[in-house]
Symmetry: C2
Subunit: 320 residues, 2 copies
Amino acid sequence: MMMRAFSEAQPKVAETIGAVSSAETDSARDFLARARAVIDAHLEQIVPAATVEPVTIHSAMRWSLFAGGKRFRPALLLATGEAFGAPTHSLLATACAFEMVHTYSLIHDDLPAMDDDDLRRGRATCHIRFSEATAILAGDALQALAFQTIAEEQDLDAGVRVALVGELARAAGTPVGMIAGQADDLAAESRTDVTGEELDSIHRRKTGAMIAHAARCGAIIAGANSRELECVTSYARQLGLLFQITDDLLDVTATAEDLGKTPGKDARAAKATYPALYGLEVARARAHAVYDEACASLLELERPTQTLRAIAGLILERQT
Amino acid sequence: MMMRAFSEAQPKVAETIGAVSSAETDSARDFLARARAVIDAHLEQIVPAATVEPVTIHSAMRWSLFAGGKRFRPALLLATGEAFGAPTHSLLATACAFEMVHTYSLIHDDLPAMDDDDLRRGRATCHIRFSEATAILAGDALQALAFQTIAEEQDLDAGVRVALVGELARAAGTPVGMIAGQADDLAAESRTDVTGEELDSIHRRKTGAMIAHAARCGAIIAGANSRELECVTSYARQLGLLFQITDDLLDVTATAEDLGKTPGKDARAAKATYPALYGLEVARARAHAVYDEACASLLELERPTQTLRAIAGLILERQT
């Protein structure tokens, strides 16, 4: 019952495009904090305890899963599902499945053969805390558990569940999902001639696919029709792009204290980013234009989309 | 239509336990060869072409998937499904999904941080042919594609598909699946006091779970009842154990030419094996006893299980 309160008590916001009020960003922050608590509690139930054999693998899965992640993808799934009237409990299994896939991708991404990162969110990455072999296996197990969690969610019709498994698999895999984007990103690292179109294409798949499909899954669980699903997809695609542009901007402009990590890493790695390609001012203007497009997609929905709009506003204005 | 011929024209075999006729092993060889051709053709359709972006990942997925594997798990799924009357076409998607998960596990298992193997079936392993990063991502993408393939198989009811996704996920993950077995196997490598019980437990999960669940999925697609499913599970668990014992025996007794790989690797690695634990003669007797138990489980089924029995016989007698 408590969980249904998510969509209520949101401040009325003017439905004009381009302006983000502080009431909106506050409302989005509140929503995300409450969503995070509910998602963390559900993940806690889904993932085997660290005392269950094999202890090392379950400890490693939990180490990375409960490392202070923002739960952005599952929170977006909740926000979308609730905008279409789905009760929170019907959304949680799928929301957690998206978080498990996201987490496995971070574990594998941090491996020495990939980005070779020792720290994430201020603490040791999975392969540093455990071992490379354990990190590989823990990531693999999280992916399997994600699909199992959806398949075995008794709250949902089997027809909905197979649609959700398909959505998550496409979001995670190739040719249009996360793995495809990661592969292109790795290939682009050694190049200095990455175009804006290529950069969009990398991010649309590397981070955008999981964000877009998370939002779609919320709508699918709520029984949205195909026109509504198209609007949600369009909104979430812009949201994913916005997330990436502001991430790139923060890497240039934020302080280490704000970020909790060392800024300027992209520039030192000569990585293709929006500010590097377009300059700071044009990249900022692009962020505002993408935010406007995201809001425009929401206006086509005759639904209470305040939370979805507020989330986009929060990302546009984010300082971390 | 051609594919329905699999279960036909099998020689009548005496239903006594313990004896394997050459007609049986020939029949099993024929079945496996025909199953392999059908599975290879279906995998060819499922996996994106090597020309589809990201080209490196799809090339790597195909490099390992079409590396001459025996297709044992998917063939077993076909044999089980057909014994219960399912048409071959209804079994192929799930059969291929098991093979994709099996292949991803080999790719990750060969990585430097895991078994560090440069060669598999006489050719370069995925990370040697491509790169470690590509091998990690190709494995991850194969796992996603496996679940997607089942979820999107229009030939099967949604209720059956979610059951199959759950079966594959449990077989692949933790705490009772493949990853759990791999983790225990890694942990046992540094120990010299592994007991027979522990060895059984490692293999029951590392290789046994995927074999048992493949057989179960064939029966589930065919609509087997829960008593039948129990018999199939019992048969396939023994089959998985038999596979491992004979694998260990071959490592001691076979020549490199027979195996296509260097024998004696286990002993040099001081790995816990059945012959190392029990001695050659007792391990051989154990193989025969396990074969008998597998056949006994089949006798409880009032179904044409000749092919399933012949497969067990072929594994008992195998030289490679």
